[in-house]
Symmetry: C2
Subunit: 160 residues, 2 copies
């Protein structure tokens, strides 16, 4: 088990695109009940099964296990809610931090999110100038919620 | 992924007790939505995470992965619905078949179920004389349902 402590931001401009590696992610949710999620992910050619607990502040319990990619494919095809989340993940190392920038595709196209994982909630970090406003804790931007209420459906009505 | 094809029976008498090995099982459910279950199990000293799909006839999709027992303990303690399922599993080999007899404890005490896994739905099998009536397909006897509606609560009112 790992405790996941992260901050999340919207992204502006394109200057970040040249800074990192990119990999296609495809993921879906077997269940999202009471804030506990069961996620199936294919990252590049690798499969993962991930259980996340409830979020408290910026922190969330996370249990992640590698699984055969064929199992992941079958679970995405037959057990996961629709729509699936499809995105390109850019991994960008800046100073001692790993920024993961997700450019969403499909029904979430238009949304770009940056996440950074911290060692503790009070850790001070330098914010790159391609970050827009912070959305840590905003439930709408959880991937599990984007699988239920995709960005393409809410960008006109809910964006503030 | 494995396809799980099984038949399930109630058990009578005690003659089966001397036939097999026994191990304590403790398990719980992270979610049981639309017939899809996410189960955490500790069997003896080993942890498992298991996803099961919907049942069709006697057949059910099953994806099972070994996980660290410490992870399993933490998930049982913090993420799984109550009550947990506690039982003693007896593994009994007869002819070419493995019979798994579950003697339930706690809130399901009094219930004893035998399961046998088959290669196909039409496989003919010899039924040991310690079997009572067949309950294959009876949703009440699913472990995931016994975690919601334990046997101790329904033996007077629902048993037919």
């Amino acid at each position: 088990m790992a405790a996941e402590i992260e901050r999340k931001f919207l992204v502006k401009g394109d200057s970040w695109r040249s800074l990192g590696t990119r990999k296609v992610y495809r993921q879906g949710y077997i269940s999202t009940v009471n804030g506990i999620t069961v996620r199936v992910r294919i990252a590049g050619e690798n499969g993962y099964l991930t259980i996340k607990g409830k979020t408290k502040g910026m922190t969330r319990q996370e249990f992640e296990y590698p699984i055969p990619v064929e199992d992941a494919k079958m679970m995405l095809d037959t057990l996961c809610d629709r729509p699936l989340i499809e995105k390109i993940r850019y991994k960008i190392y800046l100073e001692d931090l790993l920024w993961e920038v997700d450019e969403f595709l499909g029904e979430n196209k238009g949304l770009i999110l940056a996440e950074v994982e911290l060692n503790d909630e009070k850790q001070k970090i330098e914010l790159p100038d391609w970050l827009d406003r912070e959305v840590t804790g905003d439930l709408r931007y959880y991937n599990s919620n984007l699988a239920k209420y995709p960005y393409q459906q809410w960008k006109d009505s809910v964006e503030m």
